[in-house]
Symmetry: D2
Subunit: 91 residues, 4 copies
């Protein structure tokens, strides 16, 4: 998950970008960069990880709620699951 | 929003609790409390505000997706709106 | 803490402002405001609480490190305490 | 920064671990893992990035305040810089 090829591609592209940011951070640390710029790089990685989390949750929402539920039970189960994900990761 | 009386009651109870935590923090500051306990109180307020945000988003999810959409268009609009809320506040 | 009268005054003013934001949120909820604006108000409170936490930590830093330590032991204890506060609340 | 060989080694080890977590996440996504476990992995990365940020700020604090300032001016400059870092990244 996400299952659609386009969503998967976009999520994977973001993960690769975060790894690239880690590589750049490693080089900066090896080169003895100052604390200020190093913290800026880490803050950028933190922002990218939050963006990735949001992207995966949005893809999940689209996949779960983008088509009608086949039963009331399924609808209730979807809502309960999505609600749990919001509770767990909105912080 | 949230519109159901129970949801509204629960949300309001949480807001009142946060205000009570602010009152306690004010008293601690007036009394010259140490930095450590003051930061603990502020962190508790931060946690409570995050909990409130999650509660409101979950209530919105239940109200929007707890019953079938009347059209594909409405379904798509609901998903787009919820997706925007996740993107804005998951950080 | 913070102990200087000006710092204390500024911190207290911020706590009062957060309480005022809670009052406004309560009124909005009572009036049945929409989910979007309610979440915006909650996000503003979250930002204000983070600002308050930062302000208290900065005041503590100024009070602890704004004048020379009287011994190596005191210096080490100050650094260890401040380090613990950063570890606990930077998240 | 951090400049001491041990601090640098510990920070680099953490960056490498985060990269390893990104690799594991990429494999899970390629293998079509479910949304729940994927979000757990992303949350673990977010926690690790916050831990890294805290570690770098703590190392900076030790390096800046672990020995006496040579002048009042230097002390004030150190406090102002550290204060700015707390304000920027405590959120």
């Amino acid at each position: 998950m996400p299952h659609s090829p386009q969503e998967k591609k976009k999520v994977l592209a973001r993960v690769k970008r975060i790894r690239g940011q880690c590589d750049a951070l490693e080089r900066a640390l090896e080169a003895g960069a100052d604390c200020g710029p190093v913290l800026q790089q880490i803050a950028a990685i933190r922002g990218a990880v939050n963006g990735l989390m949001s992207q995966v949750m949005e893809a999940h929402l689209r996949e779960e709620f983008g088509h009608p539920a086949t039963s009331e039970q399924q609808r209730a189960a979807r809502v309960a699951e999505m609600s749990g994900l919001i509770r767990s990761y909105l912080k």
